[in-house]
Amino acid sequence: MDRGKMVVNSDECKGCGLCISQCPVGCIEFDNETINKQGYHPAKYKGSGCTACGICFNVCPEPGAITVYKLVKA
């Protein structure tokens, strides 16, 4: 299991691509299948590889567009 995961609230994403360009492991991509309510292809998590480093959160200009999760032992 990956150490982390990131979730994009796709309606809040403006498709600027900063999280994609800054993710050190390249685990985020544009969701070209989706056009959100603002008319952008939002970013989305590829589904694996996240280390919960938080870089995507800290480069994302939208307050609520990205949430980063960390794996904790139950």
């Binding site: 600027c16 691509g17 800054q22 480093c53 938080g54 870089i55 307050p63 609520g64 999760y69 139950a74």
Partner: protein, 477 residues
């Protein structure tokens, strides 16, 4: 199991109810640095538990709507004036955490005076300065921080230092001042610098909460729209163009040595205010006139004139003060403005048993001329039957009028004989009250404490008044 470690900070509103249009997203362009810095501010307020005490001052610029987002007290300021607004707010809310959030046009152009002086006063506020080298809101014009050669809509051929000067380095300027305790420039170009930016903002707010002093964080931030590049390339532009000119570093940090500011003083109110104002409050009804001025000199309209330094204004104040103490209505107006030309000072004094209309004495019933120009200027204005006191120590000519009473007094000479040439005015006061019985000596004496500010000089002034009285008596004037 996954737990959220980074999510929308609580210091933001859940939905942006003040905003028009979509209330779940910001008004900023895609990739804009403002949203990132907003997030750092909100995170810091969350982590420091300062949200409820925070007052966010929104500027004019792209962040004009900062108040849409922060679940704090919010003030929206005029262009460039955020540090002044923050000053006013913090001074009357000393326990609050005040953030002046400004762009480069706001802070480094139109608001240069406000930022420099708020910093110099060491206001207990935190200034977050977004430097993106362009005017975003108005559509991409030159900013004071626009780089040399950078094309904007108002530098279409690139910024030319011979026409527009050089980009302003604010951290360098602010850090030269004594008062600021923490000045750092950070950048949003890469993860390491963003982490530093986040820490800097948190540190600044923490220092403010500890009442340590003025804190200033400049953020080199991207404006993909204004720069006409996509967001990821904008980060490179910060790195390649901005950072070489605007070094990213701590310019000043004296926070460890800085002593916290003293707590704000308690506001005093109630009857104590009268005490502070030196007012002895009594509810007694209107005081009536205690001393009858002889009919001949009733309701005098007095002009006193001389060189500046002869104490003519003070002589007027003395007459007004004593007149008031005797229950009369009084006015005193100093000459100032055009009348001061030619080196003479003068004042108008009215002492009246009824309401005083015009306080300006155009036709004196009593003229005191302490020097020659004054006599030349005002003698002709006197009413017929008026009384002229003139300082013969300084006036070697005789008055011209035949229809006035003339009282020559060598006031300056008498004062000089008393050992202080400056009390000529009080010699004249003595002469006036002896000759006219305008006011009683006893009240003059008890009035000294109101119009002689240096208490140790009161005995000398008293002597001077008596010398003036004696001169009138001895010379049967």
């Amino acid at each position: 199991m996954y737990e959220p470690i980074l999510s929308k900070p609580k210091s933001f509103f859940e939905t942006y109810k003040e905003k028009t249009g979509d209330q779940t997203i910001t008004h900023y362009c895609p990739g804009c640095g403002h949203g990132i810095v907003h997030k750092y501010v909100a995170s810091a307020l969350d982590e420091l538990n300062l949200t409820d005490r925070a007052i966010f001052v929104s500027p004019v610029g792209c962040s004009v709507f900062g108040y849409y987002y922060f679940n704090t007290g919010n003030l929206q300021a005029a262009h460039g004036r955020a540090p002044a607004v923050a000053t006013g707010s913090k001074r009357v809310n000393p326990d609050s955490i005040v953030i002046s959030y400004q762009g480069d046009g706001d802070l480094a152009a139109i608001g240069t005076a406000e930022i420099i002086h708020a910093a110099n006063r060491g206001e207990l506020i935190t200034v977050i300065f977004i430097n993106n080298a362009i005017y975003g809101m108005t559509g991409g014009q030159m900013a004071p921080t626009t780089l040399v050669g950078q094309k904007t809509t108002t530098t279409p051929r690139g910024r030319d230092p011979h026409n527009e000067g050089y980009p302003v380095k604010m951290c360098e300027l602010i850090s030269q001042l004594n008062a600021p305790i923490y000045v750092e420039r950070v950048a949003l170009n890469n993860a390491a610098n963003r982490a530093k930016a986040k820490r800097a903002i948190k540190k600044a707010l923490k220092l403010q909460s500890e009442r340590k002093g003025f804190t200033f964080v400049e953020v080199l931030s991207q404006c993909p729209t204004g720069w006409k590049v996509d967001a990821p390339d904008a980060l490179k532009w910060i790195e390649e163009k901005m950072i070489p000119y605007y070094p990213v570093k701590v310019f000043k940090d004296t926070s460890n040595e800085a002593e916290p500011y003293p707590e704000a003083k308690e506001i005093i109110s109630g009857e104590k205010v009268f005490e502070i104002l030196g007012i002895k409050r009594d509810e007694k009804k209107e005081e009536t006139i205690k001393y009858e001025i002889p009919e001949k000199y009733k309701n005098p309209r007095i002009k006193i004139a001389g060189f500046g330094g002869q104490g003519v204004l003070l002589l007027g104040v003395a007459l007004a003060q004593v007149g008031m103490m005797e229950g009369y209505n009084v006015t005193w107006i100093p000459s100032y403005g055009p009348e001061m030309r030619g080196g003479t000072a003068n004042c108008s004094v009215n002492i009246s048993d009824s309401l005083i209309g015009s306080p300006v004495v155009e036709k004196p019933t009593i003229l005191v001329a302490m020097n020659k120009p004054s006599m030349e200027k005002f003698e002709k204005d006197m009413v017929s039957g008026g009384i002229l006191f003139y300082n013969t120590a300084m006036i070697d000519t005789e008055p011209q009028r035949d229809d006035i009473i003339k009282v020559p007094v060598p006031a300056t000479k008498i004062a000089s004989d008393l050992g202080n040439i400056r009390v000529g005015n009080m010699v004249m006061l003595g002469a006036i009250i002896e000759k006219t019985k305008l006011l009683p000596l006893e009240t003059v004496k008890s009035g000294f404490e109101y119009f002689i500010s240096r208490k140790n000089l009161i005995p000398l002034n008293e002597k001077a008044v008596e010398a003036g009285m004696n001169y009138i008596k001895e010379n049967n004037l």
